[in-house]
Amino acid sequence: MNRRTPLTPYLFIFPSAAIFLLFIVWPALQGFYQSLFRRGVIVRNDIPALAAEFVGLGNFRQLLHDERFLAVLGRTIVYTSVTVPLVVLVALGLALLLRDTFPGVGIVRAIVYWPSMVSLIIVGISWKWILGFESGVANYLMTQLGLAKVPWLLDPTIALATVVLVSVWATAGFFMVIFIAGLNAIPDVYYESATIDGCGSLQLFRHITAPLLKPTTVLVVILATINAFKVFEQVIVLTDGGPGRATVFMVQNIYEEAFRHPFGVGYASAQSVVFFFIMLLFAFVQFRMTRGGEA
C-alpha cells in the first residue's frame, strides 16, 4: 500500500510560515549581515561617502567597551528584573480576586483588562499628562492637599519607578486573563478534598494552586520578560528616555543609534544581534523550566 505524505497540512501553515520567513527570519538574517559593516540607512557602493565598509566583528568589539551601551543593557536588565515579578504578582492577585463570580465581576474584569487593549502610545501620553511636574493632575491634587509636588518624571530613580508602574498597569490585565484560565483549569476536587482535610486558604494556595498553576506561571513569566525587555513605546512618549538618559532602554538605544547618528545602522544592528541572543537565552531557560513544570 502506498503511503502518500499529505500536502494539505503544509498548505494550511504555508501562509503563516511565509509571513514569518519574510518579515521575521529574513530581516533578522539581514540584521546579522549588516552588523558586520559600518553603514548608514542608505548604501550605495558607487558613492564613496555612502559605501558600506566591512568591519567584521569590529562593531561587537566596540560594544564591549561602549559604556553607554553597557549602561543601557544593565538598566534594561534591572527594569526587567523588577517589572516581571511585579506583573506576575499583580496579575495573579487580580486573577485570584476576580476568578469567582459575583455581581459585576464582568465589569470589574473589563476595567482591569482595558489598559491592555489601549495602545501603549496612548498609555504613555495619558500618564504623561497625569504625572507632569508642573502641569500634571497628580501634582495638582497633591498641592491642593498641602503636599509637596513629586518629581515623577524629573528624578532619575523616581522616573524609572514610574515607568515600571505604568508598564505594570498597562499589562497586568492581560496576564490576569491568562491566570484566570489557568486557575479555572484546576479541578475543584483537589480543593474539596483539601478543605475536608482542614486546609486553610494559605495552605490551599501553597500546596494546590501554586504547583498546578506552574505551567501558566512560567508562560506568563516568559511573555512578561519578553515584553519588558523590548519596552519602547510607552517610554518614548512618557519620558523620551529622560530625565537625561535615565530611562533609555535597549530598543530606544538601538533606534537612536540607527536613525539619529550618521552611519549608525551597522552598529545598531550589532546591538540588535546582542539583544537577540539575550532574548534567545531567556527563552531557552524558560522552556527548560516549562518542561520541569510539565513533569
Partner: protein, 461 residues
C-alpha cells in the same frame, strides 16, 4: 451502434425520439439576430451614423488619454509645515504652476518635522525618494542625492537671497537648495504682564544685559499671576543663543576647527544649568517633558526663548494677552541664531529640470512676498521689500527679531550652516541636559561635545 429502445411494458408511454431544437425565424422561441460587438467592429464601417459618431469619440478619448499619460510629469513633494495655512499656500502654488505648465502636476506628502530626516533617508533607501523636499539641513546620509541647482538655474541663482543664508546653500561648489524663509531666535515677552507690573521693556536699539533682563522678569513674575519668569525651547539650536551671548561658538577658523573647547562654553553651560535650579526656569522643561510653548501660551511664563516661526501661531492662538519679541539680553554679546528652511530637489528625480524650475518659481520675488505675508515669516530674499503682515504685533515682533539677526556675531549664522553641525546636534543636547540635571560637569560636557565636533569636521572637511 444503434440500440432499439426497450419494449414498452405498460403505464406511461415511453419517451419519443428527441426533437432537435431549431430556431425557426417565426417561432416563439426565436430570438432576434444579435450582433455581438467586437473590437474589430469598432473600426469597421457600420453604416449607422450615431454609432459611427460614438465610435469616433471613443477613439479620440483613448488617444487623448494615452497622449496625456505619456506627456504628464508628476512631481512628488515632501513637505513639513509649522502652520496648516502653509499647506493651503503650497497647494495654491502647485495650481498656479500647473496653470502655467499644464504638463506638470504635483503629488504632495506631508511629514512632521520630528520625522523629516528619518523619512527622507528611508524613502531614498527604499528607492522612492521625492522629487522636491522642504528641508532645514542636508544630512551626510543623503547629501550625495541633492540636486545641484546651479546646473539648471545658473551660478548666480542665490544672489537675491540674504548672504548668510545663501552661504548655507552652497556646499562643495554646488547649490543644494533655495531658501524659503529665515528664522531668528529670540526672547518673546508677555507684554501685558510687563504693563501690569509697571516694568518697562527697552527698545531694540537700547537693549538690556542678562542681569537687567533677569531682574525684570523676576519682578514681573512676583507682581503678576505668572508662575515662571522664563521658559526655553528644548533644542540645542535655541541653546546656542545663550552660547553666543556668552561669547562662545561651535566652530572657529572659518568653520574648520573646534571652537567649543573654551571658558565661554563652560560659562554658558554652568549658568544655563543654574537658571533651571534657582527659580528662573522650571526644571521640568529641560529636565522633564513640560512644553515651554504651552506654558507661555497659557500665561504661566513671562518670557520664552523661542523664535520668529512662532509669530504666526501666536497671532492665531494668543487672544488674552499682548506679546512682543526682543530685545535679546547680552552677557558679553547680544545675539540671535540664524535658522532657515529651504527647498531642494533630488538628483534621482525623473524630471530634474522641472523640479528645479518649480523651485525657482516658488522662491521667486513675488512668491516670496506672498509666502512671507501669508505665513508671517521673514523672507529669505533681500529684494522683497517691506512686508505688510497686517498685524501690528506680528510686524513689530518680526522686525525686532530681524534686527537681532542683523546685529548678531558671525558665528550665529556660520555655525549652523557648517555641514559638520549635523554630527553635533544630538550630542550637544544630551550634554546640556546632563549638566542641567547635574549628571556631569560642564567640563565633561565640553569634552564630549568637542569630540563630536572633531568627528563631524573629520567627516565633512
Amino acid at each position: 451502434m444503434y440500440k432499439p429502445p426497450p419494449a414498452w411494458s405498460g403505464g406511461r408511454p415511453p419517451p419519443g425520439p428527441r426533437k432537435e431544437r431549431t430556431l425557426e425565424p417565426n417561432s416563439r422561441r426565436a430570438a432576434p439576430a444579435v450582433r455581438r460587438p467586437s473590437l474589430r467592429s469598432l473600426f469597421e464601417g457600420a453604416g449607422d451614423r450615431k454609432e459611427d459618431f460614438m465610435r469616433k469619440v471613443l477613439i479620440a478619448l483613448v488617444v487623448f488619454l494615452l497622449a496625456a499619460a505619456a506627456s504628464a510629469k508628476e512631481l512628488s513633494v515632501l513637505w513639513f509645515y509649522d502652520d496648516p495655512s502653509e499647506l493651503a499656500f503650497v497647494k495654491q502654488a502647485f495650481a498656479e504652476y500647473t496653470a502655467q505648465h499644464p504638463d506638470v502636476t504635483f503629488k504632495l506628502n506631508t511629514v512632521s518635522y520630528d520625522n523629516l530626516f528619518t523619512k527622507v533617508t528611508q524613502l531614498i533607501a527604499g528607492g522612492t525618494p521625492p522629487d522636491i523636499v522642504k528641508l532645514t539641513d542636508v544630512r551626510p546620509e543623503f547629501a550625495p542625492f541633492v540636486l545641484d541647482l546651479s546646473k539648471y538655474e545658473g551660478k548666480d541663482f542665490l544672489k537675491p537671497f540674504i548672504p548668510g543664508v545663501a552661504r548655507g546653500m552652497e556646499r562643495g561648489g554646488k547649490i543644494i537648495g533655495a531658501p524659503l524663509d529665515v528664522t531668528a531666535n529670540g526672547i518673546i515677552l508677555n507684554k501685558s504682564y510687563f504693563q501690569k507690573a509697571g516694568v518697562s521693556i527697552p527698545n531694540e536699539q537700547t537693549g538690556w544685559t542678562w542681569t537687567e533682563f533677569e531682574k525684570a522678569i523676576r519682578e514681573v513674575t512676583t507682581k503678576t499671576q505668572a508662575r515662571f519668569p522664563l521658559v526655553w525651547d528644548v533644542t540645542p539650536h535655541r541653546w546656542l543663543t545663550f552660547l553666543y551671548e556668552n561669547g562662545g561658538s561651535i566652530f572657529k577658523d572659518n568653520g574648520t576647527a573646534n571652537g567649543f573647547d573654551t571658558q565661554a562654553s563652560i560659562n554658558a553651560l554652568t549658568k544655563f544649568a543654574a537658571m533651571n535650579h534657582d527659580g528662573l526656569m522650571p526644571l521640568s522643561v529641560w529636565g522633564g517633558t513640560d512644553n515651554p510653548r504651552d506654558l507661555f501660551f497659557s500665561g504661566q511664563a513671562v518670557a520664552w526663548m523661542s523664535g520668529s516661526w512662532q509669530v504666526k501661531a501666536m497671532e492665531d492662538g494668543i487672544k488674552n494677552f499682548d506679546w512682543t519679541a526682543g530685545p535679546n539680553p547680552s552677557v558679553t554679546t547680544r545675539s540671535s541664531v540664524l535658522g532657515y528652511k529651504f527647498v531642494s530637489a533630488f538628483n534621482t528625480s525623473k524630471y530634474p529640470a522641472d523640479a528645479a524650475d518649480f523651485i525657482r518659481f516658488f522662491t521667486s520675488k513675488e512668491m516670496q512676498r506672498k509666502y512671507a505675508q501669508q505665513l508671517t515669516v521673514i523672507p529669505a530674499r533681500t529684494d522683497v521689500g517691506t512686508v505688510d503682515y497686517g498685524n501690528p504685533q506680528a510686524t513689530e515682533a518680526l522686525n525686532n527679531l530681524a534686527y537681532e539677526l542683523k546685529i548678531s556675531p558671525l558665528a550665529a549664522s556660520s555655525d549652523v550652516t557648517n555641514p559638520a553641525i549635523a554630527y553635533v546636534w544630538d550630542t550637544l543636547k544630551e550634554n546640556i541636559v546632563a549638566v542641567t540635571l547635574k549628571q556631569e560637569t560642564p567640563q565633561q560636557a565640553v569634552t564630549k561635545v568637542s569630540a563630536a565636533i572633531d568627528k563631524g569636521l573629520a567627516a565633512t572637511h
